[in-house]
Amino acid sequence: MIQLHDVTKIYRTRSVETVALDSINLTVDKGEFISVMGPSGCGKSTLLNIVGLLDNPSKGLVTIDGKQWDKQSDKVIAQVRNRTIGFIFQSFHLINALSVTDNVEVPLLYRNVGSKERKRLVAEAIERVGLSHRAKHFPAELSGGQCQRVAIARAIVGNPQIILADEPTGNLDSRNGAEVMNILNSLNADMGATIVMVTHDENLAEKTGRTIRFFDGRQVQ
């Protein structure tokens, strides 16, 4: 499903060069649930951005669903982001101007789904994360855990094959964290979604099929 071949990402700022990813080779099979661990700044978010086609590697090849996308047009890449990938960001990134419902609807706006069908899918996704009673609220009116769940609903509403979750439980207490973990587990088990999850929590990592570890941009395990 996901293949990285010799992927390197170098950030160049005025004076420093940061090697965020150093020759990463990684294969994630369809239906796998893997966790990514490593100290802060080791390149975990960078990895997810590259897999999610939000950023280009400085070197190396990225293959998603058997195809290489980085040289494609903006329109084609947008379509892959829309259909194939669901992103859960490290810090939610909800749109503050929009209600929970409208936030969750975002991915559906960019495909051909009628408004009735959109409403149904959105309601379903919100229910799945247990936020139906907050559907009309705005992000500013929600707790951190609730925001995280909205972000999850948004990532799963379009039923993507790949879910990239960047510390989806990082802002949550253990109870809420476990709940999020349950949602991801069931997505993986019931829908066959391929999940890559970044986490700092060994306990959660243990519940995933495989854990890869990073250190200073290098895969160490």
Partner: protein
């Protein structure tokens, strides 16, 4: 995405930042207000409407300049001495009318009242189409016989005769007894060539005028069609040339026009020789439009650009979930057009209100001292033109910020947005 989704999205976004929305809408509304007032004023001056139904086929000469040497210049209306040269002899014109504006002191038993008047010839009634409530205009024989007859408007009729028609009744003007032969509907002061409250034969005062080139007359030419305008103009210029050959060596006569209604509107009271006709008039209009357009465009571009930072996160999120660059450009452009549209409609409504509320200020020509009746005329073209203007404004002011915003790399933008 469908347009309805875009519209909903645009309204939601605007609602979430009311200050920005307010600033943008007000900017556009003020622009449209100014544009509309200028256009309404302009449209009222140049478009045909009763009784000036033939305004688009009329030319007018109102001003003449006479020079002696380099030191002496006189500018005024047309004098009686010119009439023979530039009226009946102009063959390309279908009808030519000579008239003069004046004031009439009308004395009745109950006292004297002053009314703005035009002294006109019989052709005047042919060029314009007055709505006679009662009676009729005067005829050529009456004109030639210097009959003391007068046509009045409803307002004067009401003042002098109440609800009864004044036709057949008499009044005293400058010690002479005049008979009312017609009553017409009130004329809007925006009809610059026909407006008055009373109309009497010009022949009554003609003989008292000097046979000079300078005077206070105006000459109206009705052309069969606009195509004859240039022929009429060149005939008048030819007449001017002929007159100049008869003048003393250091004298020179210049006739302003004949002007179309548009040219007359823009001519003003400067040196007539420095006015370049329609070209100048159009350049003037275009420059005014551009100035009107530049200010709100820059204003909106600036407002939109300052918002890029604020909207980075949203745009990056949308891109991560499948919005292409083009979709983002469309979304932002659409928002901007909605802003312009709301501003435009507000400006439009306010301008209609202003046109009525401030009609004195807007439509009273400088030559008129006492304010008269105004019918504000609204042309659909002015409305359509304003809406097109709003649309162009929306695109012009939206495209650069939209394109700049859409280019953001999602990964970088989301970094910046991290708390």
């Amino acid at each position: 995405m469908k347009w309805i989704t875009y519209t909903k999205l645009a309204l939601k976004t605007l609602w979430s930042n009311k200050f920005f929305a307010f600033m943008s809408v007000v900017g556009v509304a003020v622009t449209i207000l100014l544009l509309m007032l200028a256009s309404i004023q302009w449209d009222n001056a140049i478009s045909p409407k009763a009784p000036e139904v033939n305004l688009d086929r009329t030319l007018i000469v109102k001003r003449v300049k006479l020079e002696r040497g380099n030191d002496n210049t006189w500018m005024s209306g047309v004098g009686r001495g010119l009439i023979g040269f530039i009226t009946d002899s102009i063959k390309s014109a279908q009808t030519v009318s000579v008239f003069m504006s004046s004031e009439l002191n009308i004395t009745m038993d109950q006292g004297t009242s002053q009314h703005s008047a035009l002294m006109v010839d019989p052709n005047f009634w042919q060029i314009h189409q007055f709505e006679f409530i009662d009676g009729r205009p005067f005829t050529q024989p009456e004109y030639d016989a210097k009959a003391q007859v007068v046509v009045i408007n409803q307002n004067v009729n009401r003042i002098l005769f109440g609800e009864e028609s004044g036709v057949g009744k008499t009044m005293v003007i400058r010690g002479q007894v005049y008979t009312v032969i017609g009553v017409v509907a009130d004329i809007s002061i925006t009809c610059h060539n026909a407006y008055a409250e009373a109309w009497a034969p010009l022949s009554l005062v003609m003989q008292r005028m000097n046979a000079d080139y300078l005077g206070s007359l105006s000459v109206l030419y009705l052309a069969k069609s606009k195509a004859d305008f240039s022929a009429i103009k060149s005939e008048v210029k030819e007449a001017e040339r002929k007159i100049n050959t008869t003048l003393e060596k250091d004298m020179r006569l210049f006739i302003a026009g004949p002007d179309t209604s548009l040219e007359a509107y823009f001519r003003g009271y400067g040196d007539p020789e420095e006015f370049n006709g329609a070209v100048d008039a159009w350049i003037d209009i275009i420059i005014r439009l551009l100035i009107l357009m530049i200010i709100p465009t820059i204003n909106l571009i600036a407002l939109n650009l300052t918002r890029i930072d604020e909207r980075k996160e949203e745009i990056a999120v949308r891109k991560s979930f499948g919005a292409s660059r083009w979709v983002i450009v469309r979304q932002l452009l659409y928002e901007n057009i909605v802003v312009c549209f709301i501003g435009g409609v507000i400006g439009l409504l306010v301008s209609i209100w202003c046109a009525y509320a401030f009609s004195e200020l807007l439509f009273e020509p400088s030559w008129n001292q006492s304010f008269g009746h105004v019918d504000v005329h609204f042309s659909p073209y002015v409305f359509i033109g304003s809406l097109v203007f709003v649309f162009i404004l929306g695109i012009l002011s939206g495209i650069v910020p939209a394109y700049k915003t859409a280019k953001l790399s999602p990964a970088l933008a989301l970094k910046g947005g991290e708390q």
